[in-house]
Point group: C2
Chain length 407, copies 2
C-alpha cells in the first residue's frame, strides 16, 4: 500500500489526543515510513489481569484502529511477565498473581474483544515474558542504570506517596523500567496509552536511545468518564459499559447518560468529526434536535459496533416497547437485588417502595395496576426468579416505576 | 572443639568495635552455636577491584581473626558479580569493570594478603557470581520488593545526593540489595565491615527474614586514619601502609606517625588490651617511656606480622644505622622524584636544595660532606639510577637532609 501524506496522517492521529510527543519526531517517522513504504510499529500495553474491556479502554483502541487504517502495524503487548510476578510485597491487591493458564485465557478474552475494533491481520499479539524471562540480573542492573531515582519519583503517584511517607517498594521502580524495555525489545516507533500512562510511556522514550534505538513517540488519549459523568469509567465503580454487555444493556445504559456526557461519548467513542459534533450541539441548542434522538443514534452506533446492526435495531425496538410506548421515563430509578428464587412479587413491591404493605401490593395487582416490562400482571401470588444479570422494570399505578437489577 | 562461654566471646568480639547489632541476638546465636557445637557463619565482603590491602583494611580482618580464634567460620566474599558489571551508567569511575581473569588474579592477590592474618583452613572464599549469575529478572523484582525507596534514600550518601539534586541512578539501589541477598545465599549469621558499611550490612539483616532466615547480626569497626592522622587511610591519598610494603618502608612509615596516631594504631592494629594501652599512655606521660621506644615496638610488631621477626629486627637495625647512629632525625623531609637513569648526584643535590649550584655540590662531595643512607660518597661524578620504589636519605654537611622517594 502507499501511505498518506505525513501531515494528513498527523491530523487524523492528533484528533482527540491529549499529548503527542513529539510532533516533530512523529512527522519525521511518518515521512520515513512513507519513503521506505514501511509501516510504523505501534505499541500498546494491555493489562492481562483485567481482560474485560469496557468503553473506557476502547478510547485508546479506537486510536490504534486509526493507525491501522493508516497502514501501520499494531503490537498488542500482553504484560504477562509482570502479571506472573504480581506484587511480591503483597501490599498491592490490584496486582494479582496470575498463572500461565490464566494469562492465556485472559489474552484470548482480550483478543476476542479488541478484534471487534482492530483488524487481526494487522495486529501482532506479543508477550513480554518472551524477552523478560531471559533477562539476567546483570541485564536488569544495566537497565536500571539508565534512569535516575529523582526522575522516577517525579511520577505523580510516587511523588504523593513519597511526600506522605507512604512506602514505595523498590520493585515498583523496576516495573516502569521493564515496561520501557519492552519498547526496546519491540523496536517501538510509537506507544499509545491513557493520560494516566504518560509517565510510563515516556520511560520507554527515554530508555531506547541507551540501547542504540531511536526514541519512540508517545500519544495519550483522554480518560473516559463513567456513566455517572464524574468518575473514570471503571469496573470497580460499576459505572461502565462493557464491550460484551448485551445489546439491551448497552442500549439502556447509553440512553441514561446525561446530555453532556453523550457528547463526550460521541467525541471519544465514535468516528464523528469535530464539525459534525458542533453541528449536533448547535441544533440541539436551537431545539431542532431532541437529545433522545441523539442518544438513540449513539446507543445504536455502539450496539452495532460491538454486536450488529440487527441487534441495534432490535435493542431500539425493545427499548421503545418498554419505555417509550408505555410512557416510561428514560431514567427509571434502579434497585439492585441479589439473586434469589421464588420471590413473591408482593414482597418485592414492598421492598422497593412501590407498595406500603403486602395488602396494598395485592390490591394493586388484582386491580390491574402492576406491570413487568410493560406486561400487565394479574396473579397476586406470582413468584419471580431473580437470576443474576436479569433486569426488568416494575411499574405500580401510573407514576411509580423501579428497575430491578439482579447482580 | 568446644566454644567459649558466650559472654566471654562477646567481650572479645566487642573490643574495639563501634556497633554490634544487636547484642542480644548475637548472644543468642553464640549460645546456640555452643549448644549445638556448630560454628557461626561470619560474612565479610571484599571489593575485588582493589586487591591491595593496606592496614586500614586489616582493622576488620583482625576482627575476623578474633572470630576465627573463637572457632567460627569466615566466609570471605569476593563481589565478582558486581565487579563484572561495574557502573553501567559510566558515571562512577570508582567502579571499574573487571574481566573474569582480572577478578581471579585479584582474588589470588587478596587471598595471599589476608592469609597473613587469617587461617586459610577456617576461611572459605566465595564468589557472589555463583548465585547472582543464576538470578532471574523475576528474582530481582522479588528481592527489590523487600525494601522501600525511602529507606534506601536514608543511606547517608544517597540522602546528600538526593537533597543536592546529584543524580542517583536506580541501579545504585540494586547493589546494596544484591549485597543483602548475598547474606541470604550464604546463610550469614553475622557480617563485618567498616562503619562506612553499616547501612549495607543492615540491608542483609533486613532482607534475610523475607527469605525465611534469621536476621544476621552486624558488627562495624572504626575507619583507620592514614599517616597524616586526619584522613581515612587510602591508596588514593597516598597516606597508607600496605601489607605488602617492604619491611624498610613499613618500619619507616610507622616511625614517622604522630604520638597520638601511634596509640590509635596500637588500639586498632595490634592485639593489645585496653589496660595495657592505658599503661603505655600513662608511662609516656610520666616521661618514663620515650615515644620512640613505643613506635619502634609498634613498627617491629607490624613488620613481624606481615613479614617475619627476622625482618623486623633487620628493619630496626637498618633504621638505626641510617637515622639514629648517624644522628638523623626521624622526620627527614621527603622529596618525590620520578624514575630516571644516570642522574648526576650534583644535579640531584641542586634540585633538592642541598646545594646552591653544581659547583657547591662538587665541593661538598670532594670535601667528604655528602652521604647516601649513611655511606660517605667520594665521587663527585657519581650517577644514580632512580628506580621506581627506591628511597634513600641524602645528607649534605651536618644539618641538611632529604629523603629521595622515587615513585
Amino acid at each position: 500500500m502507499s501511505f498518506l501524506d505525513p501531515q494528513e496522517q498527523l491530523a487524523r492521529i492528533k484528533f482527540g489526543a491529549v499529548d503527542v510527543l513529539s510532533e516533530a519526531d512523529l512527522v519525521r517517522k511518518l515521512k520515513r515510513s512513507k519513503d521506505k513504504n514501511q509501516p510504523l510499529r505501534i505499541k500498546f500495553g494491555a493489562d492481562p489481569t483485567r481482560p474485560d474491556i469496557h468503553l473506557g479502554h476502547t478510547v485508546v483502541i479506537n486510536k490504534l484502529k486509526t493507525f491501522q487504517d493508516l497502514g501501520h502495524r499494531i503490537l498488542f503487548l500482553i504484560g504477562d511477565f509482570t502479571a506472573m510476578i504480581g506484587d511480591p510485597s503483597g501490599k498491592n491487591a490490584t496486582r494479582p498473581i496470575l498463572s500461565r493458564e490464566e494469562i492465556e485465557e485472559n489474552a484470548k478474552t482480550y483478543a476476542k474483544q479488541i478484534f471487534k475494533i482492530l483488524d487481526p491481520e494487522k495486529t501482532e499479539i506479543v508477550y513480554n515474558s518472551t524477552w523478560m524471562d531471559k533477562f539476567s540480573a546483570a541485564d536488569f542492573i544495566r537497565l536500571a542504570s539508565q534512569y535516575t531515582v529523582a526522575r522516577m519519583i517525579e511520577r505523580d503517584d510516587f511523588t504523593k506517596r513519597y511526600k506522605s511517607n507512604t512506602p514505595i517498594a523498590i520493585h515498583e521502580f523496576l516495573y516502569p523500567l521493564t515496561q520501557g524495555y519492552d519498547s526496546v525489545a519491540l523496536k517501538s516507533d510509537m506507544e499509545l496509552g491513557g493520560t494516566d500512562q504518560k509517565f510510563n510511556l515516556l520511560v520507554g522514550r527515554d530508555i531506547q536511545p541507551a540501547y542504540g534505538q531511536e526514541a519512540q513517540c508517545i500519544l495519550t488519549m483522554p480518560i473516559l468518564e463513567g456513566l455517572d459523568g464524574v468518575n473514570k469509567m471503571s469496573k470497580s465503580l460499576d459505572n461502565y459499559i462493557s464491550v460484551v454487555d448485551s445489546p439491551k444493556d448497552m442500549f439502556g445504559k447509553t440512553m441514561r447518560v446525561s446530555d453532556e456526557l453523550m457528547f463526550r461519548y460521541y467525541e471519544l467513542l465514535t468516528e464523528i468529526s469535530g464539525t459534525e459534533l458542533d453541528r449536533m450541539k448547535f441544533e440541539m441548542g436551537e431545539g431542532r434536535l431532541h437529545p433522545r434522538t441523539l442518544k438513540v443514534q449513539l446507543a445504536k452506533y455502539l450496539v452495532a459496533r460491538f454486536h450488529s446492526s440487527a441487534a441495534a435495531d432490535q435493542a431500539e425496538e425493545e427499548f421503545n416497547r418498554i419505555f417509550v410506548d408505555k410512557g416510561l421515563p428514560d431514567d427509571v430509578p434502579e434497585y439492585p437485588v441479589v439473586p434469589d428464587k421464588g420471590v413473591a412479587l408482593t414482597a418485592l413491591m414492598v421492598r422497593t417502595g412501590l407498595a406500603a404493605s403486602n395488602g396494598e401490593a395485592q390490591r394493586l395487582i388484582t386491580g390491574g395496576g402492576v406491570q413487568i416490562d410493560g406486561e400487565k400482571i394479574g396473579d397476586a401470588r406470582l413468584k419471580i426468579d431473580l437470576e443474576a444479570g436479569r433486569a426488568f422494570v416494575l411499574k405500580a399505578g401510573k407514576k411509580k416505576f423501579v428497575k430491578i437489577v439482579v447482580s
